[in-house]
């Protein structure tokens, strides 16, 4: 047991070699994947409704929700769903997302990342610094959005805070939402650009080559484990 624990520096308990030929490595359990997609869906809906409130030319997006009034009451409820989902995800993934020295090295070689000079990059655990950034950025932004959103959730908390505080809140909420949008783009794009990634969240596994190429320490640890 102690041995098992000590060996799990770079991987989570459920990560394992599913097939040896060709190699398929289990990366996310079903629960995690469903949760992820709930988060993804609510994020998209929140971005859409939020954009509608944010930018008048996109107000028509509220029609997707059945009109402005519906979008108005739905948005904070979706926000709550997102927050709860992300909280669960956070608990699950936080251990592997603690920044390490390798991340710093990896970041210094950001240019090599883009240029795909894999040989110049350090070998990594389950997540690279970019993924960790998304993880932490999302966590922080959701916390801000949750806090500021509560302050301006008029229907439920009409007089929770003073009007000047609500003005700061609405400003903070929109800034955080923009940053979340940017993070979202980064996340989605990275997932697409880095081919072979999507299957981690769709089918739950990645190919051995993908793991070797991007998360070698993780692969090594998973491969060496007996559980």
């Amino acid at each position: 047991m102690t041995q098992g624990m000590t060996r799990r520096h770079f991987s989570d308990r459920g990560d394992r070699i599913l097939d040896r030929d060709p190699v398929r490595v289990g990366r996310y359990r079903l629960f995690t994947r469903i949760n992820h997609w709930i988060i993804a869906a609510t994020t998209i809906l929140l971005l859409l409704s939020g954009l509608a409130f944010y930018w008048p030319p996109l107000f028509w997006l509220t029609a997707l929700f059945g009109g402005g009034q519906t979008a108005r009451w739905l948005h904070p409820i979706l926000g709550l769903v997102l927050a709860v989902g992300y909280l669960l995800m956070f608990v699950q993934l936080v251990a592997r997302n603690i920044p390490r020295h390798d991340d710093l090295v990896w970041l210094r070689h950001a240019r090599d990342v883009m240029d795909q000079n894999e040989e110049k990059l350090p070998t990594l655990g389950k997540y690279n610094a970019g993924q960790k950034f998304v993880f932490w950025a999302m966590a922080g932004l959701i916390l801000i959005l949750l806090g500021t959103g509560t302050m301006i959730w008029h229907e439920v908390f009409p007089d929770l805070v003073s009007i000047p505080a609500r003005r700061w809140a609405v400003l903070g909420h929109s800034v955080a939402a923009v940053l979340m949008g940017l993070t979202f783009i980064l996340h989605v794009y990275a997932g697409i650009w880095t081919r072979g990634t999507l299957s981690a969240m769709t089918r739950g596994w990645v190919t051995g080559g993908w793991a070797w190429r991007h998360h070698r320490k993780w692969l090594k640890e998973v491969a060496g484990r007996r559980d």
Partner: protein, 324 residues
């Protein structure tokens, strides 16, 4: 229907009684919330104003009563909380409220009971309209009236955030925002606001803004003759002037009057939110999205190579032996 109603010039005069089509509507809208590219209307109405002469006000609440009657609102029968304000605050059922301040004037040693009718100020640069995300939920007519078009309201409460005077209120019944309309429905048919009509001392008067400023200056001269050296008009420049203006005995200290803002303006936070923040944010999102698309189209995707797969295979095979 017969002709259009004349533009009202006073609330005291008897209004026309024949059926008239409203002379104030969509074609007079100069600004609308979340509709930045509104075309300019073909005509411009004379700017109107409601003047509230605090020095003539006796706090009788006839304005509140007339407001509730005309707008068919039903303010709650509450409790006494130890003060004269009733209902206790503006609400979606009470668009105007007498606020009472007990003030010991240190300069004269006299006690003063300052009574101010609170309600929408109909700003020339309305913070509510700037903050509102729903197209056409808040409009400003060329005569200066700022009106809420309730069918367009989504109930988000941003108008409350945007208002420098803490005026709009969301109805818990229908989740739409309400405030004084300056009786736009009466003004449209040639009548002044109900509160001005009901005011027994003509502390509330209504007319063109020019006439109201003129009247206010007369009143200020009278007040100065009674020793109120700082009597003046409250028509705050910070919001571009207002279409509800006050005559105050102490115009140098508006906040004496139940916290009337000394220098109201659309809050910098609101301007930042609706201004720079929006531009920068949208630009950033756009650029990021465009960058991603371009990169996706033109850059080489990060693909897993056959060697990678082989290395992985080898690794797994080795570890498989070791552990077996």
């Amino acid at each position: 229907m017969t002709g259009l109603a004349p533009e009202p010039v006073t609330a005291a005069a008897n209004p026309p009684v024949e059926p008239l089509e409203t002379n104030l509507g969509a074609r007079d809208v100069v600004r609308a919330s979340a509709m930045p590219d509104l075309p300019a209307p073909d005509r411009r109405l004379t700017e109107v104003a409601k003047l509230i002469d605090v020095s003539k006000c006796i706090g009788c609440k006839a304005c509140q009563s007339a407001c509730a009657e005309w707008n068919e609102t039903h303010p709650e029968i509450g409790v006494n909380t130890g003060v004269y304000e009733n209902p206790p605050d503006l609400s979606a059922e009470m668009f105007t409220l007498m606020r009472f301040t007990e003030y010991d004037n240190p300069a004269t040693g006299d006690f003063e009971w300052l009574i101010r009718k609170d309600g929408c100020m109909h700003c020339e640069e309305p913070g509510c309209l700037a903050a509102c995300p729903a197209p056409g939920a808040i409009v400003q007519y060329s005569n200066g009236i700022v009106d809420f078009i309730h069918e367009n309201c989504i109930g988000c409460g941003y108008c409350i955030i945007g208002c420098p005077f803490d005026v709009p209120r969301i109805s818990p019944k229908d989740n739409r925002s309400y405030k004084c309309t300056l009786c736009s429905d009466r003004v449209g048919v040639g009548q002044g606001p109900a509160c001005a009509k009901a005011c027994p001392t003509q502390a509330i008067v209504f007319g063109t803004k020019t006439a109201m400023i003129e009247h206010a200056n007369d009143r200020i001269a009278d007040l100065k003759s009674r020793g109120y050296a700082n009597a003046g008009i409250y028509d705050p420049a910070g919001v571009g002037g207002t279409h509800v203006i006050y005559v105050l005995h102490h115009a140098d200290q508006p906040s004496l009057y139940s916290g009337l803002p000394d220098d109201p303006q659309v809050a910098s936070t609101v301007s930042a939110w609706k201004g720079a923040n929006k531009t920068i944010g949208l630009a950033a999102l756009g650029l990021a999205a465009a960058g991603a698309v371009l990169h996706g189209l033109f850059a080489r995707a990060n693909r897993v190579s056959a060697e990678d797969e082989a290395e992985a295979q080898a690794l797994v095979d080795r570890s498989g032996e070791g552990s077996a």
